[in-house]
Symmetry: C2
Subunit: 336 residues, 2 copies
């Protein structure tokens, strides 16, 4: 059997590969009873005294390297900082391993490093260690950046995907589909003018503000597979369902238009600066207000609530109901 | 300016690139006063209460993926475990990010994962989180595995490259050049039969035994650039020199023979299961004995001592003296 593109796409086909080949052949998958590989959460934890160390890793291969709203440097840093943040931990440090193709332009490398620095400064994160390798240009196209984030949370404060409770309000911190749709529009050059930009941004500001208020039970950043994947994963791991009001899900006019043209569901494409939170109902308004004060959270909405149902149900704008399913494989060319 | 192969080779040309483009454009490079990016050590540290968290990262691109003595799975795990260990920390967890080329054979992937598991079990390390991406096969040849290791040391117990003290004994845990020379012989197919194998192995057993005795001032695993690079880096960072007895440096007969044929200095090629230690003279014999009890340390030797000189001096087998210099760039095709 051969690896196909769908194996790296974040849907069910990939889950099966990971379960069979990776999880099935590894014995040690957790440390000190922390969140481990089997949990397939946004990261792992190592309990240590009064703290939990949170670790998350990602390899970034985006094409093109520079796109409206960001570049591979920004997405590498923000993506990893975000995975640590949605575990409920303050991101502190990044380990940055780069493999660069021979002949790569040093000026472009410098721009990429500067973008990384920007995210570091905005979030108070440091790049503490790294590795740089060069690969022959017939073996690697452009570059791959693998970032691993380290964060710290107080003991017992980790927010798991599985932490949703029935009655929780579901908060979405902003409009959906911006990254995926803008990247596809830009890359494929569909010939329509648009101001659409990737939303790639570090979410720690919003997350930290919510954690300070308390009552955050579960968080996830809806990247590969979009909110359709993230909402279903949270619900399924928590053994609950959701009832969501489609009218409350923020979506930009340009994203809507481009999605229609491309025939792509904007709920199924990646976002790179958004968070889905399940929060205690009595804290929901206060948390929403705090998130909206952050520049990346101005359009945040309470989009629905957690139910005993086992499905994620969308009440459509016409008043009908439909089940929002997780995508089977990535429905679109990879955008992150 | 374009990136060349020598930029990823671990010598001085690479140091310059890293200094100018990477270090020069990043502001946050350390957390809580720990070892950070500027230190260019084997990893970084984050002080946390009574502990130090140690982090190290590496991207692995070895060709071929399977070679005598190991494969990319074993080298990815051992390499990262070793970088954490030589900082003086017990390795606990690995984050494993893989980018796999479309069409890659799933059976080979399984063998690679099993090799990773073997190192995990031997060292008590867990793979706690990961990422799997698939890249088009015209953009990536085979695979890249980026592993990040997390370890814990007691506060103040970190062994820095710069920790050598004048009078320290220098211990080398086994024969040099096995990985680099065996890989080149195998890959280039020079047509001579050899039993030579890579030494790729986790060194935590030897390191842990030495740390239990105490008096370990500095450690480094001599990978890219070989012992020539590692010894010079330790001496230079510590502001000292070394006087070494070449006769004490273990080297296999086959490595010696193959090096001559290939015209390559075995001191300049990578080892993947060895450690250089600078230890207090009164502890040296006890540490040497403990290391020799480990299966990877049977041939360990005290090869010399730390001096006030600023050079690494080799007393040759003929009784002459020569300065052992760090390689300018990788003198050989990449082998790790």
């Amino acid at each position: 059997m051969k690896i196909g593109m769908s194996h790296g796409a974040g849907g069910e086909i990939m889950q099966d590969l990971i379960s069979d080949i990776i999880l099935g052949n590894l014995k040690n998958k957790t440390v000190n009873g922390g969140v481990g590989l089997e949990d397939l959460d946004d990261g792992a934890t190592i309990p240590l005294g009064e703290h939990e160390i949170v670790i998350s890793t990602d390899s970034h291969t985006i094409d093109p390297l520079f796109f409206p709203g960001g570049d591979i440097g920004r997405i590498s840093m923000a993506g990893t900082v975000n995975d640590v943040a949605v575990m409920g931990a303050r991101p502190l440090a990044i380990a940055n391993a780069m493999v660069i193709s021979e002949g790569f332009n040093v000026d472009e490398l410098e721009l990429i490093i500067k973008s990384m620095d920007e995210v570091c400064q905005e979030t108070g994160v440091a790049i503490v260690t790294g590795d740089t390798k060069v690969m022959e240009n017939d073996k690697l196209d452009k570059m791959i950046i693998s970032t691993t984030g380290i964060g710290i949370a107080p003991k017992g404060a980790i927010t798991r995907d599985s932490g949703l409770k029935v009655g929780d309000k579901v908060i979405l911190t902003g409009s959906v589909g911006d990254h995926g749709i803008s990247l596809m529009s830009y890359r494929e050059g569909f010939g329509f003018e648009t101001d659409l930009k990737s939303d790639v941004a570090p979410v720690w500001g919003m997350v930290g503000a919510a954690l300070d208020i308390g009552g955050v039970h579960a968080m996830k950043d809806p990247t590969r597979g979009g909110i359709a994947n993230a909402l279903n994963e949270m619900a399924s791991k928590s053994g609950v369902g959701m009832f969501l009001d489609e009218e409350k899900i923020p979506i930009k006019r340009e994203v809507h238009a481009a999605s229609e043209m491309l025939g792509i569901d904007p709920y199924e494409v990646a976002n790179e600066g958004k968070v889905i939170m399940g929060v205690a109902p009595e804290k929901a308004d206060e948390i929403l207000e705090a998130i909206r004060k952050n520049k990346y959270g101005v359009e945040a909405q309470i989009i629905g609530e957690v139910t005993t149902d086992k499905h994620v149900i969308l009440e459509t704008m016409m008043g009908g109901k439909r089940i929002l399913e997780a995508p089977i494989a990535d429905p679109v060319p990879r955008v992150c």
